[in-house]
Amino acid sequence: MSRQGADPIERPSATASSPIVAFQAVGMRYGRAPEVLRDIDLTLAPGSFHFLTGASGAGKSSLLKLIYLAHRPSRGLISLFGQDVSLMGRRELPALRRRIGVVFQEFRLLEHLSAFDNVALPLRIAGQRPESYRADVAELLAWVGLGKRMHAMPATLSGGEKQRLAIARAVVAKPDILLADEPTGNVDHEMALRIMRLFVELNRLGTTVMIASHDQDLVSRFGAPVLHLSEGRLAPV
């Protein structure tokens, strides 16, 4: 896979040394409930690879939501690609979101679209022409083992197949940041390793990767730095 985002024009303010993601004293809450994340300080260097661990309900998914701009923090500063997100208007966020690939914990596949259309979605949204990405989408689907199910509807896929489909959709646009929320929860060990190797490969090509996972075995096997959440705070491992 070649990096599309390597075009210097597409990476304006983030120089090699400045963090691609930076949190300062960030808090987050759902509605009027108490904060589920507190005092989060975090910096991710471009091209880094992190695991995010923590008990169920610790706030892993919530932290990722802040990064992929699905939720605004209740306090603190968040900057992405060197830009202060809190100062941004609604129209400016899509450009940032296109540079972030997300594997959602609950997949969030579009049920009325085929596997092929689901994977093609980010490219369509980015305004690319079908002829330019059809072959890439087919290749990626084959790569995640869905070559025979390209035109299947998500409802007819197994849990593991859905997960691989979600992964394919997250990486198809070659994002600068890849966030994966329990991306190996539904696949067997061998497929888990393959998926992890895909993430490592993308990381080697320059993508900043963060993976939320329960799987201690997997986490220790890859030896990447670990961010541990405990009761809404980042704690040293």
Binding site: V102, H112, D117, I125, R134, V137
Partner: protein, 300 residues
């Protein structure tokens, strides 16, 4: 999108619609739009026909004038009428002037005085009818001037009072039709706005995924805009076609005793149905886009 045959074949793949295909809800909406377009098309036909009827009356009324002649002392009413007709025939813009004979004038008075109830020596006003050149009709002033010169005591009625009435009615019908058309368009816009709101709520999950994948509000709004514009165009086609069929049937079977004499339509009027589906699509597009943009912008 599902492909037949080889499941590996992706070379023929085409992007599927990003919004789920229509569900039962859309059928009710299509029916409402079709009915509105039906009514709007009928209204267009009716106002065209009414306009044509008014034009006909205007043409008839302005093509002639009537002059009431009163005989002077020592002159019979027939002589006065003959002199008036002679004088009027010479006026520029008059193609023909004829005096009604006494029998014809009596006949006009019959409804008021009864048959045979008019004594032979009773002077009655005599009428001279004047046919005017439709291209350059003589004015009432010119006719009056000619009468004065000829020394005839008469009064010209160029039907201008009736003309004004007819023109005013035609204007009122036209204005009413435009107003009703605007109301219909507003009603259509309102139901489309309502449907867009419901669609956004029903497809909240889809919309959120699109946003998270980097879609602008305008991208999402365009999906609804296209969906409802297509729906309205199709519904508009049915509505307008039904109205055209009804009008054609009335034209064929209405005959000379049906409403055709009252609302004289011609086959070309049916072309007024053509823009209706396009207008419906435009109204739907604007309403759907506006509503979607407004609602999306209000999201956190």
């Amino acid at each position: 999108m599902s492909l037949d045959g080889d499941p590996d074949d992706w070379t023929r793949w085409k992007p599927a619609p990003l919004l789920p295909r229509q569900d039962g809800r859309d059928r009710g909406l299509a029916f409402v739009i079709a009915v509105l377009c039906f009514l709007a098309t009928l209204m267009a036909f009716a106002s065209l026909a009414a306009n044509r009827a008014a034009e006909g009356w205007v043409r008839d009324l302005s093509a002639s004038a009537t002059i009431q002649v009163r005989p002077r002392d020592g002159e019979t009413d027939s002589e006065a009428a003959a002199r008036a007709a002679e004088a009027l025939a010479a006026v520029k813009g008059v193609t023909e002037a004829a005096s009604l004979d006494r029998a014809a004038s009596e006949k006009l008075l019959e409804p008021w005085l009864g048959q045979g109830g008019i004594p032979a020596d009773l002077p009655i006003p005599r009428l001279v009818t004047v046919e005017l050149d439709p291209k350059a009709p003589a004015t009432a002033g010119a006719l009056n001037g000619a009468l004065r010169e000829a020394g005839v005591d008469g009064e010209v009625d160029d039907h201008s009072r009736w003309l004004a009435d007819v023109k005013r009615s035609a204007g009122a019908i036209g204005g009413t039709a435009i107003g009703a058309g605007l109301l219909v368009a507003m009603a259509a816009a309102a139901v489309i706005a309502f449907a867009t709101r419901a669609g956004l709520a029903a497809r909240h999950e889809v919309v959120e995924v699109l946003h998270l994948a980097g879609a602008q509000d305008a991208f999402v709004a365009r999906l609804f805009q296209r969906r409802f514009a297509l729906l309205a165009a199709r519904a508009g086609l049915y509505g307008a076609a039904a109205a055209a069929a009804l009008a054609a049937a009335a034209h064929v079977f209405g005959g000379s005793d049906g409403f055709t004499p009252v609302l004289p339509m011609v086959w070309n009027d049916l072309f007024a149905a053509l823009p209706v589906p396009i207008l419906a699509a435009m109204v739907a597009a604007v309403a759907a886009r506006g509503t979607a943009m407004r609602l999306l912008k209000a999201e956190p």
